[in-house]
């Protein structure tokens, strides 16, 4: 019962599938590929397969991670080929490696993620905006939390690991690494809102594209 990790990308309209849709999609792609997964025990057995981090609906990605246990032993390269031929074209398996079994899951191990956020903007931003944004001692934002989804103020400054801005073709591109893990997690949505406010940019959310390029362990 070996364990493998797949790295995959997601682009095009398929970005509108949710995390739960992706679980179903991978499960079926494994079935179509004849790669049968190990199942958990108990009343409601489910395949041993999990993503490092759920990807929000609407985001594209190029470094998503999925770990899974198979019933039989496969060559990792063979899994990559089989899965690619059974996947919709906008999801590509970039890599597959066999790993040692570890008590800690990928989800428990991952701590940060890199995002590229593209905001349409034709105006001029002051050169110092990047430095000024990061120079804030704390960046308070309102976040819905807890069972009752009550709005609560949190400080996101310390969850931003790196942040830089480039401007290109009437777009501003934010490249950023944010906490992404079970201990500390920052949704890019909160960063986007707070940055737009800070920089005084007016943009509709539906015009902004978010891409997750890497997940860090």
């Amino acid at each position: 019962m070996p364990r493998y990790v797949i790295t995959f990308s997601k682009k095009g309209f398929i970005k509108y599938t949710s995390h739960l849709d992706m679980i179903r999609l991978f499960k079926r792609a494994f079935n179509r590929s004849g790669i049968f997964l190990e199942y958990s025990e108990g009343f409601n057995p489910h395949p041993k397969m999990s993503f490092a981090q759920p990807l929000s609906l609407g985001y594209t990605a190029s470094g998503e991670l999925l770990e899974f246990d198979t019933k039989d032993v496969f060559d990792a390269g063979e899994i990559k080929i089989k899965m690619n031929s059974n996947m919709p074209g906008d999801i590509r398996i970039l890599d597959c490696v066999q790993i040692e079994k570890d008590k800690k899951s990928l989800a428990a191990k991952c701590c940060a993620a890199e995002y590229r956020i593209i905001i349409p903007y034709c105006g001029e931003l002051p050169d110092t905006v990047e430095k000024d944004f990061l120079a804030q001692d704390n960046i308070p934002v309102m976040k819905k939390a807890g069972k009752r989804k009550e709005e609560k103020e949190i400080d996101i400054r310390k969850m931003i690991r790196s942040f830089n801005i480039t401007a290109k073709n009437n777009n501003i591109i934010l490249s950023t690494i944010l906490d992404a893990g079970s201990n500390s997690n920052l949704s890019p949505e909160l960063l986007i809102r707070s940055f737009l406010d800070f920089a005084g940019i007016e943009a509709d959310r539906e015009d902004i594209e978010v891409h997750r390029s890497q997940i860090f362990m």
Binding site: G12, F13, Y16, R28, N86, P88, D204, E206, D207
Partner: protein, 620 residues
Amino acid sequence: MNLDRLLKKVEKPARYIGGEVNSVLKDPKDVAVRFAFAFPDIYEIGMSYMGMQILYNILNSHEDIFCERVFAPANDMEEAMRKEGFPLFSLETKTPLADFDIIGFTLQYEMSFTTILNMLDLAGIPAKRADRLKSGRKWPLIVAGGPCAFAPEPLADFFDLFMVGDGEKLLPAICRLREENPDDRSEYLKLACKLPGVYIPEFYRPSYKEDGTVKEVKKLYSGAPDRVVRCFEKDIESLPFPEKPIVPFIETVHDRAVVETFRGCTRGCRFCQAGMIYRPVRERSPETILRYARKQLESTGHEELSLLSLSTSDYSQFEPLVTELQEYCAGKDISLSLPSLRLDSFSFKVLNEIQKTRKSGLTFAPEAGTQRLRDRINKNITEDDIFNSVEQAIRLGWKKIKLYFMIGLPGETEEDLDGIVDIARRIVDINYMVNGRAGGRFSVNVSVSNFVPKPHTPFEWEPQDTYDDFIEKHNYLRERLKKLKNVSFAYHDSPVSVIEAVIARGDRRVGALIYDAWQNGCKFDGWSEYFDMEKWEKAFVSSGVDKAFYAERRRNYNEILPWDIIDTGVSKIYLMTEDQLTVTTGDCRDACNSCGIIKYTDCPMMGCNAGEENQICRDM
């Protein structure tokens, strides 16, 4: 405005993206005919419908035909599209519907008709045929098929062409014909009406008597058939069936591999339209069914397999088939789901195995509360059948029994309503008997729907209960059922049943009612959260359509019925005789009941269970 922006604003955007595994993509430039298969409900409902998968697969197997799909957008998407002036588009290539050669709607249910008009409007296509012709520009042909095409008159003003009966060969044929006559609409229709099962409404003009009934139907094109005989496929074994059905990204109502085992039904329940219009029973062989099951499971990765037919256990080789399927599925962690089983000892054995860990509940459909009324509607099930099965189920550990009944059936009296209560009570008692006075966790769910008389059934002449009758009966039942412990009661919305009855047996004038209702904002009428009786009431007033005339009136046997233009193959004499019988008519497999179908096609079931001496067909 691009689609990307719209999709970011709406719920479940994956409903609109296409690109699913096994969906088909062709270059529109390489094909001669572009066909949009339109389902008048949201994606999750439409993608659960096997008929679409069958026809999609067949059309796309033709190199020069490209079939794409379109569903009704949910409310939020519709609002966003209307606001931005974004026209309704196909999932595969995101092409606006108006750019297709043919748009084909499937007519599954009367309460989807306003949604059809709404979809055409969202596509920027005038819903009324007359308006399309007047506009002077070339529009796609608007065509339809499916069960409601057997009584097409309420939609006659909107559609160019209806297809009645099996579509596997007919649908490609009407596409081919379009390829040969791309520009001359009237020539196309003249040729199309010669195809079996094609009804062209503009070739006929009905007129009405003073009492509102049909006086005559005048033929406006002499080459059109006097009656449209439904298209029959004698042998479904040889018809293509999907090996690679589309696998939705999002969860749909039925998200599984499905193989049709047979078409038609031999039971002859007198209220049931499907049991009449799909005769005779035509089966696939067990080998073919197994092959499609295997191929579908391999090509989709589904983890559930189901069989499709009107009555699962009536398949002639049911036991060997299910035994083999069970073996296959068990080895691959695939769950087998068998809908509408008749509960005999074999079924129990099967159910007990496939529901080993979770017994999901058992459903019985006695339909009526007394033997007298069950005989009248020809539902051949006795009280002993029900109670014996229930007892066996409870002994095997089932804790939830669901019962389906209809109210308002012809000949129903108070005794029949009491019968419903009595059946529920006796099932609770059986549980006490088996599990002791404490009884344990146990529930009986009584679900009641309102009888809607349907065209082409023995009850096509029968009046429907009034709205007030239904309410009174619901109250009567509720009062009595609530006194029973462990029994819950659910019933269908009565106004919907009334509208359904008006449209189901409507004539051409009912088109105005549907149009006005849609203009008032009606759509998704089958969804209780959208159905709005007030808007329909207003439409009754403005269209002048009289509810009682269509729903509550007993029709005369010699009256011309609006759907008489369609010949299903089942004779009127048979339907009339069945309507008047108070005793049961046997299963066609035991002896032929002379429904008339053999005038057009062979019936493989005719007395097949009986000895040779009984196989002689009664004279029609």
